[in-house]
Symmetry: C2
Subunit: 333 residues, 2 copies
């Protein structure tokens, strides 16, 4: 099937209207549509319009409150908690971000604990505004069990992405956003949808046998990246976005989930650090650019986020191509 060309604003409007028609109020629809639009614009289709079906399913089943209002409180000088009230994460993030930035600037660093939210978006979009405010930032969130623990045979950890970003006053920020799984579940879903095979070593089927069939992996488990080391990272994410902030581990989120296809209730952990307060107030930025120059000087090496930057420029100038399949699906919602 042929693709459809949309402008960035078309994407935003399409997403927003679909969410409004399915139970989101204006504020929530705008916040979720923004996250979807940014993913689509940056070339990450797996987290773009393709996810609308899941968002809508969660609204329709009543699992997610599309009219939730986040409640923000300071738990300590450097800890902000935002309770999403059972809504999607984007509005909670949007409203609490300035509190995080302010607390980091006052204390040197600060943490944001998001609880009682449903997270279905891409993390780099959430880290980027904090990084654009001149702070180093990290975010992580868990999901439903999809990844084997080191040495184990049953999915226990979520795909558990970690995003980390570094501010660059005069250039596109350096941000990486990577699943603790060898491959993001969204990418596996995309492969399943498009009928592609997965690279060997990506996952196992429900019986624990290696397979390259994305549909079988979706019913089985993914491997962590880099063996036991990636599994350590996945465990760390469970502890930060679950145990630390008083939210669900992936296995608990799955136990409580109604299986409507949308994101389970869970938490997210984010922290922000102000490099200007660490003793090299005038020099930290120029200094860090030297590292980035060294990376870019090597043939074949590129900075994390570089592909996103190019996709974004291209999308803004030329629009975004959406598959007919996804478009039909959205019209059906």
């Amino acid at each position: 099937m042929s693709n459809i060309l949309l402008t960035v604003e078309d994407v935003r409007q399409l997403a927003s209207e679909c969410l409004l028609r399915n139970g989101c109020d204006e504020a929530n629809a705008a916040a979720v549509a923004d996250i979807i639009t940014r993913a689509e614009t940056d070339g990450c289709h797996s987290h773009g319009l393709m996810r609308l079906a899941g968002y809508v399913a969660a609204l329709k089943s009543g699992k997610v409150d599309g009219t939730a209002r986040p409640k923000i409180r300071n738990l300590a000088p450097a800890i902000i908690q935002v309770n999403g009230g059972g809504g999607f994460a984007p509005l909670a993030l949007e409203q609490s971000r300035s509190h995080l930035v302010e607390a980091a600037r006052s204390n040197g660093l600060a943490a944001l604990a998001l609880v009682n939210i449903h997270h279905f978006g891409a993390l780099w979009c959430e880290v980027e505004p904090v990084v654009e405010a001149g702070l180093c930032a990290m975010a992580c969130t868990s999901y439903k069990p999809a990844v084997l623990p080191a040495g184990g045979h049953e999915a226990l950890y979520g795909t558990n992405p970690v995003a980390f970003g570094w501010p660059r006053p005069t250039a596109f920020p350096v941000i990486f956003d990577q699943a603790s799984a060898v491959m993001a579940r969204g990418e596996v879903m995309l492969a399943a949808r498009e009928g592609h095979e997965l690279p060997a070593g990506t996952g196992v089927d429900a019986d624990g046998n290696p397979t390259t069939d994305p549909n079988k992996v979706l019913k089985g488990a993914l491997l962590a990246f880099g063996g036991y080391k990636g599994a350590s990272i996945a465990m760390m994410v469970e502890l930060l976005a679950g145990g630390l902030i008083g939210e669900s581990f992936s296995f608990e989120a799955a136990e409580r989930d109604n299986g409507d296809g949308g994101p389970p209730q869970g938490g997210e952990f984010m922290f922000a650090i102000d490099p200007a307060m660490f003793g090299d107030a005038d020099g930290w930025s120029d200094h860090s650019e030297k590292l980035f120059e060294k990376i870019e000087a090597q043939d074949g090496a590129r900075l994390p986020g570089e592909r996103r930057r190019r996709n974004r420029e291209h999308s803004v100038a030329n629009g975004v191509e959406i598959s007919q399949t996804v478009m039909e699906q959205i019209k059906g919602l």
Copy 2:
């Protein structure tokens, strides 16, 4: 050659005497000897007595000041900076640790920036006392270029270990400590010393060609674990332990180093988080134990640090075996 059996106290005394004879004062010798002893006791020989030769070389060449006194100051409510005065890291860590713990308990989380130190020890030993104080802690440090950036062909990042620990009031803390390289440089050195081959995919020689010869890898470069994702982690470590705190990147540390075989001057970044302040003051610990139970319930899976715990118990009860080669080397110092 046969091995020599030492008690834990023998190891400590051997290390301490050797350091005292080669330029450390009492406080520095005791702090470094403690780190060496803990590595040896926990079964990590690559960071134990084997490293004395490097410590001594750095003292003899005058690169490291064995009588340095760390200076501690608060850069912000949640930032402690300790300037090691060109000494080894252990004394700086020992003296600043309580400041970090206190700042984390006052603010919810806090960071420790170690600058002007020479780091040659294992990170879990440094994280463990903070974790034993009831806090979640993370530490990272860079070194000299040893690891390829994603897509690159020349070593740029250090092996850049990251340690992360979670407090358990009634059990051995869960701590992982892992190099961003597929294998720690210490392990490669051990393989070179003992004449073992490395697993395929560990590193490349000086011309960028894959090799399993540890001596060639020591002259070439290691790969990051898990491909570009591990390289992202290595980059993050450069930024936190270098750019953020105003210390050297690995490539800068190497440029300035005199090549005496000891550790270059550099920095370390650590942070501590108080789980009791994140909204689940009474429940966080019992809750987290449920995750650990789920991991341990899977055949073949074990908690990070479990092998260390068993080695430590064994060493305390039965002593530590040291190779004759290492013993001869130490006597020569």
